[in-house]
Amino acid sequence: MTALDVDLHVNGTEHRVTVEPRRALAVVLREDLGLTGTHLGCEHGVCGTCTVLVDGEPVRSCLVLAVQVRGRAIRTVEGLEAADGTPDPLQTAFSEHHALQCGFCTPGFLVLLRGALDEDPTVVEDDDRLDALLASNLCRCTGYEGIRAAARAVGTQRAREQ
């Protein structure tokens, strides 16, 4: 097979990588770019821990080939904090509301929620909509109540600001 040169635009930085077409975006982020905040769990699109934003929309980076997102804006959990290192409000809220235990699923939930809140912060105002969104990703230890509370805290504040 032929390895291809691909320009990946990740968290505002341009990276030129040479990748085999069969390599998933998640694998290239972790192994070639050293961005290990994006986790790989099931590797077949079920668990959501590999969620990243592509042009602002959440995607499963285990079900996207790196060659498919050439030139697109990719944002990972490493790209959530502000330039001065201030954590994203979601990261603070996850800590305050105990929305994590082992932390393995946390990057996926943070990125999923960042994408959803940027698109429409009112998603937290409707329990059914929020549950449907959070059902995208699996948390196997602490449960979803803390995650819901953190999402509501940030979304409500965001909606008020707009």
């Binding site: 097979m1 069969r22 959501g48």
Partner: protein
């Protein structure tokens, strides 16, 4: 890295894409949400992936006089956000919410789902139930196939290996059409066991689709006819339309029963689209 090696091209014209697809072992990739999973599991193989992401001909929704043409690049999330107007659009919105989860809906496509032809696919049920058709293109020419003929069986379609499905054409539903979709599934995270879609036209006639009730998505012709005669469409769906296979969690008789219940339920729950 789980898939076996393959080559990858991103053609910018339809002609280039069709030439590439004439290569033995070539496969189309659009959203890839099913294909990449199957390549990872090595349940399927490809020597070359032809990415349709840059083909303008496959983008967008095009309104025609009596029908709506949905291009092969139109994603689940585009339909969920209301890419199609009117009662047909309302049915597409209601159905899209049942497809996987938002991070999958942002990549996967309606036409891709038809080509994947999962027996429990809501899109296959909807497209078959509405009597839609699939547009196919290859270096040998173009043809249009009714969805009912396109869907052969589980993961089997009428598309030849070198054919590209460029669009699905669905009939426009007249104003006042009531639409609905209901499902039975064992867990929130799973696929549908059975799903039913309905469009009840202003004249009272219905177009009914079923997923999970047969080896492919089907149109429930017998249930539609029973409804027109004033008889129980659920009984007709269960005994005539449904052709279920044994399922690990559902014997054949149970799946027939569920198909009948869901046909009655979806007809009872149809709603008129907001103007």
């Amino acid at each position: 890295m789980k898939p076996a090696p393959f080559e990858y091209v991103v053609p910018t014209t339809l002609a280039e894409a069709l030439d590439a697809l004439a290569t033995p072992g070539a496969r189309v990739i659009a959203g890839g949400q099913s294909l990449l999973q199957d390549l990872g599991w090595r349940r399927t193989e490809a020597s070359l992936l032809v990415d349709v992401a840059d083909l303008d001909e496959l983008a967008g929704v095009h309104d025609d006089v009596g029908s709506v043409r949905i291009g092969a690049r139109v994603r689940h999330v585009d339909l969920e956000r209301g890419a199609v107007a009117g009662p047909l659009g309302a049915l597409l919105v209601a159905t899209a919410g049942w497809i996987a989860h938002p991070p999958v809906r942002s990549r996967g496509t309606l036409v891709g789902s038809l080509c994947f032809a999962h027996p429990a696919s809501e899109w296959c049920a909807l497209a078959a139930g509405l009597g839609g058709s699939v547009e196919l293109a290859s270096t040998r020419g173009r043809r249009t196939v009714a969805v009912g003929d396109f869907l052969y069986g589980p993961h089997e379609t009428a598309a030849a290996p070198d054919e590209l499905a460029t669009a699905v054409v669905l009939p426009r539903l007249p104003g006042g059409t009531r639409v609905g979709v209901v499902e039975s599934r064992r867990t929130h995270a799973g696929y549908a066991h059975v799903a039913a879609t309905a469009a009840v036209l202003p004249d009272g006639s219905a177009r009914l689709g079923l997923a999970g009730a047969a080896p492919t998505g089907i149109r429930a012709h017998a249930a539609e006819a029973a409804l027109a005669r004033g008889e129980d469409p659920g009984a007709a769906a269960a005994t005539v339309d449904a052709d279920p296979r044994e399922h690990p969690h559902a014997p054949i008789a149970y799946t027939r029963h569920v198909a009948g219940v869901l046909v009655r339920r979806v007809l009872a729950r149809t709603e008129e689209a907001a103007a």
